[in-house]
């Protein structure tokens, strides 16, 4: 079958003819091999223009099309659609940019004309070697897997589940609720207990579109937006393993209190009545704050910022919960003296200042200091601290409560590797963009909500869960079809030596090594066509479907001639 290439130069209004002698360009390219038509048109992207092109394709029986006009970023898709409508495979089309790359840049008309002709000739050389690639369609799986059954996971599940979208929450421990479930009171509405959370959990238990898998962990995830295959194993005595398919994953694995601080400095664990915030929270929930000897404490030191220097970040929620503890201690019938030792106060929300002022009014002492030490001396708990003027002071108290840093829970690294989500220097999951895309992971179809990406309070966790749900609701519409990338890489098995260099450069995890054949293979649905593997293969066994060696060679050669 003969090759008949149609070349159409668009005037783009006055943009191009002012700077380029189009007729001269057409003269230059019309006699080239395989060029069946070389014409000009005023505005090809207009309705008239598109109709004209479609008619030309049919009339001239074109096998390939070149449009010389503006940037492909503007109208490549437009003209590809024209090809489809005219019955021409849209990948047998090449767009040449003679507006931004010639007319708008080169002041001398003769030079601009020469360059335009060169660009078009390069495009013609290339297009003749294009292959008629075809798009594939996949129906997305609308279901969602939520990893982590804390407040973020719970909120996401309730926002997402519906008759057409099933949600599975997978939780490592035996019950839903996470750290929020262990709280005695929620902060914002002092006096509100956590029955709000209880109600949400009950809703989930009643919802037939949500399945809760407690005592289970994810052991393998492969796939892409609309099609993730997940393997789940239960950690109980009977290790049960099962696979499910979902379209999106929400990582809501939360955080935990750091326990790596030096006990010699902070005393917890080896001194009675030095407790962590979690232990104090349990005491409040149990209804009584008591020392080991059974008596209530007359004085309590609340130690902020345990681990802030070591970890290098502020954990955001501790100042507020320490204030909560302070209010609680001062509100009791026999209020204890409360001393809060802090290095900086974090009071960002609109009600926080008031809450702090309230604590001051109730007689809570605030001491700003670095370098706190909690020790036992002569049978008493002593807090040693700097006084701001270089001297050390000590304070004797009955009880000390430590507010340690919030850190990622164990297993985060493993999960990060499975999902291809990077961890940042603090060990928390790294979002696609901390400010502009805070709930998406760099991999499409995976979302991060709550403390999984860094310390947050409950309000922020809920907001993120709802945001992630919103993103899923709008992209993963049931019945929607996905078109995986067409211009992907392909590995020639005869040339592949199985050295797996390509695996080390593929960010998307789209390449796997087939041990039984001794070669590597590209997963066509996950490959994004970035071409890194093509460049990395020492054997040249990998080629891009739309950027083959021959195509690039001919295009470049023609441009440099």
């Amino acid at each position: 079958m003969s090759v008949r290439i149609g070349v159409y130069v668009c005037e783009c209004g006055p943009n191009i003819p002012d700077k380029i002698d189009i007729d001269k360009v057409l003269e230059d390219i019309a006699p080239l091999n395989n060029v069946a038509a070389a014409k000009r048109f005023r505005l090809l992207c207009s309705n008239d223009g598109k109709k004209y092109l479609a008619d030309e394709i049919r009339k001239e029986k074109l096998t390939h099309l070149v449009v010389a006009a503006c940037s492909p970023r503007e109208h490549e898709k437009t003209f590809m659609q024209v090809c489809v409508e005219a019955g021409l495979n849209p990948y047998l089309f090449q767009m040449v940019n003679i507006r931004e790359q010639c007319a708008w840049m080169i002041p001398d008309k003769a030079e601009a004309t020469r360059m335009a002709a060169k660009h078009i000739r390069a495009g013609i050389s290339r297009v003749a070697l294009h292959g008629p690639l075809s798009k594939k369609e996949l129906t997305v799986n609308p279901d969602v897997l939520i990893i982590g059954g804390g407040i973020s996971g719970i909120e996401a599940a309730l926002s997402l589940a519906s008759k057409t979208r099933k949600v599975a929450i997978i939780e490592r421990s035996d019950s839903l609720g996470g750290r929020t479930g262990k709280l005695s009171r929620l902060l914002l509405h002092q006096g509100t207990d956590v029955s709000v959370l209880r109600e949400k959990i009950e809703k989930i238990e009643k919802d037939e579109n949500i399945s809760v898998l407690t005592g289970c962990e994810v052991t393998d995830i492969r796939g892409f937006l609309g099609n993730f295959e997940v393997r789940i194993e239960s950690s109980g005595e009977e290790a049960v393993s099962r696979s499910i398919v979902v379209g999106a994953v929400v990582v809501a694995t939360g955080c935990e209190l750091w326990d790596g601080y030096d006990p010699a400095v902070y005393g917890a664990g080896n001194i009675d009545d030095v407790v962590t915030a979690a232990e104090f929270e349990d005491m409040i929930a149990a209804g009584k704050i008591l020392l080991k000897n059974g008596k209530p404490p007359r004085s309590v030191a609340l130690i902020h910022c345990v681990g802030r220097k070591e970890k290098g970040y502020c954990s955001k929620v501790c100042c507020l919960y320490a204030l909560k503890f302070a209010h609680h201690l001062r509100d009791s019938r026999a209020p204890a003296e409360v001393y809060e030792f802090y290095s900086d106060l974090c009071l960002p929300e609109k009600t926080d200042q008031e809450y702090f002022d309230g604590a001051v009014k109730k007689g809570v002492h605030f001491l700003r200091t670095e370098n706190v030490r909690v020790e036992k001396r002569n049978g008493h708990i002593v807090v040693e601290h700097g006084d701001g003027a270089g001297k050390k002071k000590t304070l004797e108290v009955d009880m000390a409560v430590l507010a340690p840093a919030l850190v990622p829970p164990p297993g985060s690294e493993k999960l990060a590797r499975m999902l291809n989500i990077p961890l940042d220097e603090t060990g928390f999951f790294k979002e696609a963009h901390a400010m502009l895309d805070p709930v998406a992971a760099p991999i499409e179809g995976v979302y991060i909500a709550g403390c999984a990406s860094g310390p947050k309070n409950i309000n922020e966790s809920v907001v993120q869960a709802q945001a992630a749900s919103g993103k899923i609701l709008s992209t993963l519409v049931p019945g929607k079809t996905l078109e995986p990338e067409v211009k992907i890489s392909v590995i020639n098995e005869d040339l592949c030596t199985g050295c797996q260099t390509c695996l080390s450069v593929c960010f998307y995890g789209a390449i796997s090594f087939q041990a039984h054949k001794g070669v590597s293979a590209v997963n066509e649905a996950i490959c994004r066509g970035c071409g890194s593997c093509v460049g990395s293969c020492p054997s040249g066994a990998i080629s891009s479907r739309h950027f083959t060696y021959r195509q690039l060679y001919e295009e470049i050669f023609e441009a440099l001639r």
């Binding site: 040339l495 592949c496 030596t497 199985g498 050295c499 450069v505 054997s539 040249g540 001639r561």
Partner: protein
């Protein structure tokens, strides 16, 4: 013995070598086969009635009579022979293989390139005095064998060995002057050699068998040998010879660099190249099924040839011999172990090996990498250090490499 023992504590077993080194080593291998240390031996064997050495895999101990653990020439690079055997998985029987140190280093690189699997392969290396140039051996007749014999006795014959061997300083184990542990080890760990045969001991009528890992110790035990000879004497002689060779290498590279600096002089080196690609064919590290330069990509249309000829005024055919060498260099020089197989194979005697080992010596340090040293050291080609990106891609995020203007705005 643990792998962290110092040179002072490492000891060797001694084998008498009254009938010469080759017989002593083959004797050791025969016994090892008989005692079941491994089920087959892979080594160069001289084909009867010819002078060539071919790598054979041998189960019958009697066939080892014609074997040469240290042949006078390096016919096929041992690393390459091993990869042809184990590319698609470890063989179903255990094998003992004797390699020159450069062959073992090539094998280490090939392990990292997934072309060799060393499971159940017992690697034995041997002090290497060098090899004769292939052409000299082919022409030289029995004289050549005598010359090699003298080499094994004196170890310092200038002019007799291949140029690559003359400037080779890694002819033995990697021991140093500091009190460092002897070659790192564990069966398929950093440097997967189980026994090293020392030939530079004080007594010429003995060979030293130095076990480098538990597998090596087991082999010696099975043979009823006890490693009780201290290594100080041998180590001292290795170090002294190494110093000489290092200096030769350095001086040789310096001089050669001057000879080939500048494009014209560099081109002149490859003037005689006939594009046979022998160098690539024999190179152990060149593992591609089909070299890019042998692929259909190299075939241009006649029109393209004419276009190029028109631009340059003339055209050399076949195209781009220099591009082949530079291309091959950019693909494999970071794994080049300076074995010199390429130089031996060049029919027009281009010093390919010299060019490549010079470039290897100057480029590998940029990645803090030494080819063949350790199977745990990742290939620069396949490793990406985040810290390296900041220098070129995101200087504004990298505090260390920020320009002064950016820093002052921060």
């Amino acid at each position: 013995m643990t792998s962290r023992e110092t040179r002072k504590d490492k000891r060797a077993a001694v084998l008498p070598a009254r009938e010469g080194i080759q017989k002593a080593v083959t004797g050791f291998l025969k016994k090892a086969l008989e005692r079941g240390c491994f089920e087959a031996v892979m080594m160069p064997v001289r084909a009867p009635e010819t002078r060539s050495y071919a790598w054979l895999m041998v189960k019958n101990p009697e066939l080892l009579d014609e074997a040469a653990p240290l042949p006078p020439v390096m016919s096929v690079q041992g690393g390459r022979a091993l990869s042809s055997l184990t590319k698609h998985g470890a063989p179903p029987l255990s094998i003992g293989v004797v390699l020159r140190p450069c062959e073992a280093r090539a094998a280490v690189e090939l392990v990292k390139l997934k072309q060799i699997q060393l499971d159940d392969v017992h690697v034995i290396t041997i002090d290497c005095p060098g090899a004769l140039p292939l052409k000299d051996y082919v022409r030289g007749g029995e004289n050549a064998l005598d010359r090699f014999q003298a080499l094994l006795e004196h170890w310092d014959e200038d002019g007799a060995i291949r140029p690559a061997c003359e400037r080779c300083h890694r002819f033995s184990l990697d021991i140093s002057d500091e009190d460092r542990p002897l070659a790192p080890s564990s069966k398929n760990g950093a440097f997967p050699v189980e026994i090293h045969i020392g030939l530079l001991g004080e007594n010429k009528e003995e060979i030293l068998l130095i076990p480098l890992n538990p597998s090596g110790e087991e082999t010696l035990e099975k043979l009823g040998l006890t490693p009780d000879r201290p290594l100080d004497g041998w180590a001292a002689r290795v170090r002294a010879l190494r110093k000489k060779k290092e200096e030769k290498r350095r001086a040789g590279h310096e001089e050669f660099k001057k000879e080939i600096s500048g494009l014209d002089r560099f081109l002149a080196v490859f003037d005689a190249c006939i594009n046979c690609h022998n160098c690539q064919n024999v190179c152990p590290v060149c593992y591609c099924q089909q070299c890019h330069f042998d692929s259909p990509r190299q075939h241009l249309t006649a029109q393209r040839y004419l276009d190029r000829a028109r631009r340059r005024g003339a055209l050399r055919l076949p195209l781009d011999p220099l591009l082949f060498h530079l291309g091959r260099m950019s693909h494999m020089v970071l794994s080049c172990v300076s074995c010199g197989a390429c130089e031996d194979a060049c029919p027009v005697s281009i010093p390919v090996g010299k060019v490549f080992s010079l470039v290897a010596d100057e480029t590998q340090p940029h990645f803090q990498y030494t080819a063949g040293k350790s199977a745990d050291e990742p290939l620069p080609l396949q490793s990406f250090l985040k810290s390296e990106f900041c220098e070129v891609e995101t200087p504004s995020e990298c505090r260390e490499h920020q320009s002064p203007e950016v820093k002052s705005h921060a």
